[in-house]
């Protein structure tokens, strides 16, 4: 009998699919709903030091193969986020996603998330549309190393780094995370993008730049995970365009020990987790994989 249980370093999940940061995870009750829908864990909205409204509308639209968004990291700030964590944490594992501009800021936020009961920390080193944050700090291996090592020094829960595909030195950044003691990498965040209205002759997003997500980015994500698996020993969590069990299996075989689902919660509905879980289990039984671990990296020679 195959099992969907998996381990990401010290984090044990009964189900391998998590809610990716930014989707149905800004409030405690939203996170509880996603646990009930079959998510093995929920990664919170990325939370910073102070409340942030994000970019003005339009900050989202449907495109071929997915969505673009330039939400701009809206969040109530780390102090108020305690109330949401208090609601969600008794119901399942919450991974606290945080963003900051410096190692000190990340450390402070991570400490708070640990106090609130987060199972692990996910460092947002990859948001493509927020000035001074995200991929602006996450494409410099030195900076990434110092953030990871500062956060590792300030919390005792596992620390994951979510990486951007918008760089040609992804393996180097992955190694910087590993060398600094990071417990896992999460790949990928959205692809930096732009949408223009021909009729109005201007970019549609108020922020001009945005990030592409959804099925269109899946092959990029699978390649990124494959690349990272080739150079890293720490676990990888795959994310980017997963909406079916086949997508999840691709990421696992590329080298991911677990996966996250974001856009498909919109395109396919909140019950997407149940469909992925059922399909994955049926596949594993038919093809003789008794565990997720036995499938991880199967596509590597």
């Amino acid at each position: 009998m195959a099992t969907l249980e998996t381990d990401i370093g010290g984090v044990h999940l009964e189900l391998p699919g998590m809610v990716a940061s930014g989707i149905m995870d800004e409030t405690g009750h939203s996170m509880v709903r996603m646990f009930e829908c079959g998510a093995g864990a929920v990664v919170s909205k990325s939370v910073g030091s102070v409340p942030k409204g994000g970019h003005a509308n339009p900050c989202f639209m449907e495109v071929a193969g997915g969505y673009v968004n330039a939400m701009g990291l809206p969040n109530p700030g780390i102090d108020l986020f305690k109330e949401e964590m208090d609601v969600a944490v008794p119901h399942g594992k919450v991974i606290g996603s945080i963003y900051g501009a410096s190692p000190e800021e990340f450390s402070h936020l991570a400490g708070k998330m640990e106090d609130y009961g987060a199972t692990a920390i996910e460092l947002n080193l990859s948001c493509p549309h927020a000035k001074g944050y995200g991929m602006e700090v996450g494409t410099d291996p030195k900076m990434v190393g110092s953030i990871v090592s500062a956060v590792k020094g300030s919390v005792s829960i596992p620390v994951w780094a979510k990486l951007t595909p918008n760089t040609h030195i992804l393996p180097e950044i992955g190694r910087a995370v590993q060398d600094a003691g990071g417990d896992a990498v999460v790949a990928i965040n959205t692809l930096k993008a732009m949408v223009i209205s021909p009729e109005f002759a201007r970019p549609i997003m108020s922020n001009k730049f945005c990030g592409l997500s959804g099925s269109a980015v899946k092959p990029v994500g699978v390649r990124a995970v494959y690349d990272l698996r080739s150079v890293l020993d720490i676990p990888i969590i795959g994310v980017g365009g997963i909406s079916t069990w086949r997508d999840a299996a691709e990421y696992i075989m590329a080298g991911a020990s677990a996966f996250q689902v974001g856009s498909a919660i919109g395109t396919d509905g909140v019950d997407v987790f149940k469909r992925i879980n059922d399909g994955l289990l049926a596949f594993m039984e038919e093809y003789g994989y008794d565990s997720i671990t036995s499938m991880v990296g199967a596509a590597h020679e």
Binding site: G22, I23, M24, D25, E26, T27, H29, S30, V32, R33, K45, P51, K52, G53, G54, A56, N57, P58, C59, F60, M61, E62, V63, A64, Y67, N69, M71, P74, N75, P76, G77, L80, E83, S197, E199, F200, R202, I204, G262, S263, I265, G266
Partner: protein, 254 residues
């Protein structure tokens, strides 16, 4: 995906409210909404106020930057829209009484047009009553309530609703309007043991059920709603009490 449509007619509904008609082939149901982009200003959710084959409309009250910018638009101008979004009303609900309060009247008009059900239009004053003529084209009973008594029933929507419910055998109340009106509509329906479908409103960004910024408890107003029935509303502790701002912070109503 967004669609660019051309405004083919503008109708003044009141001193501060206009309806903009446009051709748009999308399948829309009564109670659904669209996201309207006003370049350089904002993108906002607007209820669809009429559905006649390919012709649709939005009815806009000028209250903020975006709605004032929409009011500047003339016949022939283009707007960019996304949608339709949301669940819409379930019109297979027996004998219905439909209530619109203020500019919320726009959101219930397609349901009035589709069913011809008895309708209450409530507003502050005579000059704020909108879409009355339109409603009379479809519904044999259209009653007006104004807070100041300048037209029709002197009182609010819920007071008039109680009178009409006592005189008629309704199975379900459909309503859209200010949250305080909807809250007391819900309370009255509980008391009278009547089903209801209320169209709610929250600050929205994506419109598609992805970002989660419009949630009330665990329900997305944009995707699970905007129309919620009585048993769903009974689970929404935030209804009538609080909303969330653009940062996701709770803002209490009182």
């Amino acid at each position: 995906m967004s669609d660019v449509v051309r405004i083919k007619k503008v109708v003044e509904e009141a001193y501060d409210t206009k309806t903009f008609f446009f051709d748009w082939n999308a399948e829309a149901r009564p109670g659904q909404f669209i996201m309207v982009w006003i370049p350089g200003v904002d993108e906002i959710p607007m209820s669809i106020s009429s559905i006649t084959d390919s012709t649709k409309s939005i009815t806009v009250k000028a209250i903020g930057d975006a709605t004032r910018a929409i009011h500047e638009l003339k016949e022939g101008d283009r707007i960019s829209i996304r949608g339709p979004f949301g669940n819409g009303f379930d019109l297979d609900s027996g004998k219905m009484l439909i209530i619109g309060g203020g500019v919320g009247t726009a959101a219930i008009m397609p349901a009035v047009a589709a069913t011809g059900a008895d309708t209450i239009i409530a507003a502050r004053s005579d000059r704020d009553v909108i879409l009355e003529e339109k409603a009379r084209k479809f519904a044999s009973n259209v009653w007006i309530a104004t807070d100041d008594g300048s037209k029709g029933f002197h009182g609010n929507a819920v007071q008039l609703m109680r009178e009409k419910v006592a005189e008629n055998d309704y199975d379900c109340i459909l309503a859209c309007g200010p949250e305080v009106m909807l809250y007391f509509t819900y309370k009255a329906c509980e008391e009278l043991d009547l089903d209801c479908q209320l169209s709610l409103e929250r600050y929205m960004k994506c419109g598609a059920g992805v970002c989660g910024c419009c949630v009330m408890d665990d329900s997305r107003v944009c995707r699970d709603g905007p129309v919620f029935n009585r048993s769903q509303i009974s689970m929404l502790t935030e209804f009538g009490n609080s909303k969330r701002d653009e940062c996701g912070r709770i803002v209490k109503f009182r």
